[in-house]
Symmetry: C3
Subunit: 321 residues, 3 copies
């Protein structure tokens, strides 16, 4: 290792005194085309569309406008114009969701060499069922906002939570992505959760199950794995990992469909940077997991688990308070 060889191209003539040219272009194009045509797995050179990342980010932002009307628009909403506003927004969303879902399932069919005769119809049906879930999702989010106000002394009011809490944004995207996952839409849920991660560095796999009144404070670095189960009224702080135990080298294939992540029961609080690992690990109802705790076995209900204070070494003067 560590030979530190430079990555160089095949027609690299170095930086010489020979003037401006771009002789390499045809060769680079040929080389890249060769790589992509020879069926590398990670090209999308196919006669079917693929979901558009920008399109899906746009969906998330439009859904946010519908779920929190009046916050993310320049328009002034009143009880009188609300119905028209929502009706129009949802009609547009219906078309856009169907479009992206259509690309996702067509792409998936193509990859699996399946015919896709009713893909168009299915994508409209999925879009409708999804939109029909929005009131229920909104209700869940209302419970999440309530949980934030109850749990965080720094939250002055609900407006601040809607506008500026990364945890609420990540939870909203999770609830939307999870619904699409339930509807068996491929790729899109992960693109959504990547966008939430990009905005918040909270990484919630859309497959996870999370109950009502969920509150993530600060949130940077929170990881919630695919097979995690979380009950109601759970509170989590920054840096918490609900993850898998250490994985063998070839984990990818072997463990794709087993429960690898913990179960967190109702009313649990998990403080900053705690790590809870393993599919058999259960944290019982109303238990509290202290900051930095590393947990790989189950904890009963109504239990407080703290790190035995690691000894500190003081050099120079100590507490003179």
């Amino acid at each position: 290792m560590g030979k530190k060889e430079r990555i160089v191209g095949t027609c690299d003539s170095g930086i010489g005194p020979e003037g401006i040219r771009f002789n390499c272009l045809p060769q680079v194009v040929k080389e890249l085309c060769g790589m992509f045509r020879n069926g590398g797995r990670t090209c999308h050179i196919e006669p079917v569309p693929i979901p558009s990342k920008d399109g899906i980010v746009d969906l998330v932002l439009k859904l946010q406008q519908v779920l929190f009307p009046g916050y993310f628009t320049e328009m002034i909403l009143t009880p009188e114009n609300l119905e028209y506003h929502l009706g129009q927004k949802l009609s547009v969303l219906y078309e856009r969701i169907a479009l992206q879902v259509g690309s996702a399932i067509r792409h998936d069919c193509f990859r699996h060499n399946q015919s896709c005769s009713n893909c168009g119809e299915r994508s409209y049906q999925i879009a409708e069922v999804f939109i029909d879930s929005l009131p229920a999702i909104r209700e869940r989010l209302e419970s999440d906002i309530e949980a934030t106000l109850i749990g965080d002394p720094a939250a002055a009011n609900a407006d601040e939570v809607v506008f500026s809490y990364p945890g609420l944004f990540a939870t909203m995207v999770y609830r939307l992505a999870h619904r699409l996952f339930e509807l068996e839409v491929p790729i899109i849920p992960r693109i959504m959760s990547e966008y939430a991660y990009h905005r918040t560095t909270i990484d919630i796999n859309p497959e996870a199950h999370i109950g009502a009144s969920f509150f993530i404070d600060h949130g940077a670095g929170v990881v919630i794995g695919a097979t995690t189960d979380i009950g109601n009224r759970v509170r989590i702080y920054q840096g918490v990992t609900l993850g898998a135990l250490s994985l063998p080298k070839d984990a990818g294939e072997r463990l794709r469909h087993t429960k690898r992540h913990p179960t967190i029961e109702d009313d649990v609080i998990i403080y900053a940077n705690a790590t809870i690992l393993g599919g058999d690990t259960v944290v019982g109802a109303r238990s509290i997991i202290g900051g930095n705790v590393w947990l790989t076995r189950s904890v009963g209900s109504d239990t407080k688990v703290l790190l035995k204070q690691p000894e500190l070494v003081y050099l120079g003067k100590k507490d003179d308070g």
Copy 2:
């Protein structure tokens, strides 16, 4: 918990063979309207505007252009055109700041059922006082850049710091948001700090007090709570939390106005992932807090606090270096 019931809508007819339709639309609209009209706290269906998130992000970027002229614009600035450039930018900023501040205080009045007869005037006055603080803020930022160059061997020059240091960006946004907080502008400071968090995952509450020559290196996951006091020439690394002790379930209401976060005196260095908690916790001047240290009591001045190395377990061969 864990019943894993799907969130479903009330007119969900499943994904069947019945063709494309969107029969659900009126019902979903009606349902959502009902939820929003019944005075859920997190709607903004009111005859007053609310600050625009995009508008505030735009403010931050325009303020950055003024504070670091020539870096974030395509225009070439010279000593000759500088005055016109700044004069024009600041005039635009004056209007834009007054607009957003006006929305914020009108919205706040509306929420508190107060009349808002001089809200327009007040927002222009706040905009002026705020802009008048920019030279002083710029001076603080100059000290922060200097601190970065002194503290980080990887910083080749000041240009790199201005262009690419998340810590400087978060500190700039904090200094701007803190000034607006001092001027008692509601909501906007938190929207600003959320934007800084989005860009950097550094979470500095605008209420915190931070002295000159502040340097955050790397910075991912840094949390600085609302009632934190930080002196001059303090250096902080990634993952440091200056937070509150564990909070009771109903912390939100009870603790909103007490000092919950630590005091860090001049010339302190706090290494990566250290956690310092509690409103009575003081770290004395010139002290150094080691990486991963968990601190809930005061430390005197000129003291080095290290984690007693936790024992490591070696399986297989050990150090053969």
Copy 3:
């Protein structure tokens, strides 16, 4: 410290009843101009352009389109149109890269008071050599995707990895930025890595050396310092720091060119939140570093290093599972 004096401007007349005005404008402009003209280091008031941050973000996104054709475009690519697509994209990139590189090296010359007679020519040559490296970079990235699929049970297929894995995005930007660093382009590599950090909070210094088949899972808070050496087939989890030992106050100048960060040999796995520090620290081939481990000395090959489980304190009921 902690005097909590407000930052105020010099013509601050407070918020009084005196109506709308902006009397302060000329004075604020004059003050700021004075600060900038007096040669503060962090202004760019010079007759030469400077790289554009937006322009460089655009470069990264265009390079991503070329390296992963078909994923980040609305266009449908087929084996027939691929060559035209790539040829056109690369021609545009050639011009754009030369433009930004030209600004970077002209700015650098200006700062060092060097003449820049062949800067234009050099920037086109660098652009060509850089583009000529793209097939080799693509091959590396193919190995990184493969490593992701092998290592992560949650990765359903390569599409998901390309679309939604922060680790892959950060690795791609690193590989591009590192190549520009090798070509001695100033500033731009750091602007690129800041963009990757903004998107992912993975902070890889462009100077670091990283071998093939590199996989970062989740990734929030990962820090890889400038003089780090990483071999082939290395796997890293969120929160891992490959950093420098604690630095003296004036570290910036003294240590700018020494090896301060560790060496990680082939086939090493480093679990979440482990911290490995120091330029003399070597982790031998095929070793595994457990979560939260804090390491400042070398580890031989084929070794597993775990934290001795810190004692947990259970209050209330313990495991009743």
